[in-house]
Structure formats: C-alpha cells, structure tokens
C-alpha cells in the first residue's frame, strides 16, 4: 500500500481525484475547525505535533490496518499551528479496489489516530 503523510502548517485544499484504473473506491474524511469548542465561540484552534514520531506512528498504524483491510493507497494531511474556523485540520484519502475496505480502513485509522498519534489541540483562540 502506498502511504503519503504530510504534517505541516500548509492550508489543506481539495486534491484532484486520482485516476488509477485499479481504484474503484476513494473514501475521504476532512475534519474542520468548528465555530465553537466546549460551547464557547472560537476563532481558531492551535495544533502541535511530535515530529517525526507522529508520522512514524501513523505509518505503522496504516500498515497494520492494511493487513486487515487491503487498500491501494492512503494520503494523510494534518495541519499544525493555527487553524482558523472553517478550515481543515485533517484530510485523509483512502483508495481501494472496493468501498468496503476503503471505509473500514478510514474509520479504523481515525479511531486509532485519536488514541495513539502524538498530535494535540493545545489552544483555542477566542472569537
């Protein structure tokens, strides 16, 4: 499985859908900063990562999950630093032959990401 991981302070924008003729399914998740956090209006969240451990752990998780849910390619982008409301903090794209594996790997990865990948929301900037 091809794995691409980007953890940086670059704005996440839509990427062109790939046209690998072996890919039948592309499952994507985009997580954005909502206008409130714990009921309080905010302007932005601040994210911090432990590099390069975060990347290594993601790669390890994806390889482990791919043994159970065989997929063709995964791309993870996690933005760090200040992420304003309405902008994406994370985008994950999973390509597979069929949709079942793509959805399964994507959902499982999101669960594990929130347990094991050393990335934190460290601050909220008030609105």
């Amino acid at each position: 499985m091809h794995i691409e991981i980007l953890i940086n302070n670059v704005v996440i924008t839509p990427s062109p859908r790939l046209s690998d003729p072996g890919v039948g399914a592309l499952a994507e998740f985009t997580g954005s900063v909502r206008r409130e956090e714990n009921g309080q209006p905010i302007a932005a969240l601040v994210y911090e990562a432990y590099q390069p451990m975060a990347e290594t752990v993601m790669r390890r998780l994806l390889t482990e999950l791919a043994a159970k849910h065989p997929c063709l390619a995964v791309r993870v982008q996690h933005r760090i630093g200040i992420v304003p409301v309405g902008e994406a903090a994370i985008h994950i794209a999973v390509q597979a032959r069929h949709r079942a594996e793509a959805f399964a790997l994507l959902a499982a990865f999101m669960d594990r990401l929130k347990q094991d990948v050393p990335i934190w929301k460290t601050d909220t900037l008030p609105a």
Binding site: G31, Y50, I119
Partner: protein, 79 residues
C-alpha cells in the same frame, strides 16, 4: 537524560526541554516520581500520559538509560 514535554505537560512544567542529570538506569515509574518531585503540576497527568523513546511508546517494564531522550506524551487530541 533529555526530557521533551508536549501540550499539557509543557504547560504543567513551563518548559519544552529539560536535561535531567542521572547516573543510573531507571524505570518509567521511578522517572515519574522524579519528574513530579520537580514539577508537582505533572501529578495529574501521570496516569493518563505515556512516555516515548524515539518513535516508540514505552511499556511499564522498560529500562530508561541516562542518555535517553524521553518524550512525555499527554492524551492526544489530533484530527
């Protein structure tokens, strides 16, 4: 030993990096005892945080060397 504090751990200690002069290997539990002695605000993070060396979380029975670089990883909240 070099310690790296992230997120809540950095807030609790007031620093990102700290050098701890050690002469002998020690267990994670012994390291936590030392760290909480220096930074009492770390106490509440002890049960929910993990230690990492390099790219690996450390098991409770690991042995830490005085030359290790150890990261204190409070509960993560990415995504």
């Amino acid at each position: 030993m070099r310690l790296i504090y992230f997120a809540h751990a950095r807030r609790a200690t007031g620093c990102s990096l700290e050098e701890l002069p050690l002469t002998a290997p020690l267990t994670p539990a012994a390291l936590w005892d030392l760290l909480i002695e220096r930074h009492p605000a770390l106490a509440s993070l002890r049960t929910v945080s993990r230690l990492a060396r390099g790219d690996d979380f450390l098991p409770a029975d690991a042995l830490l060397s005085p030359t290790d670089e150890i990261a204190i990883i409070p509960p993560v909240s990415g995504g």
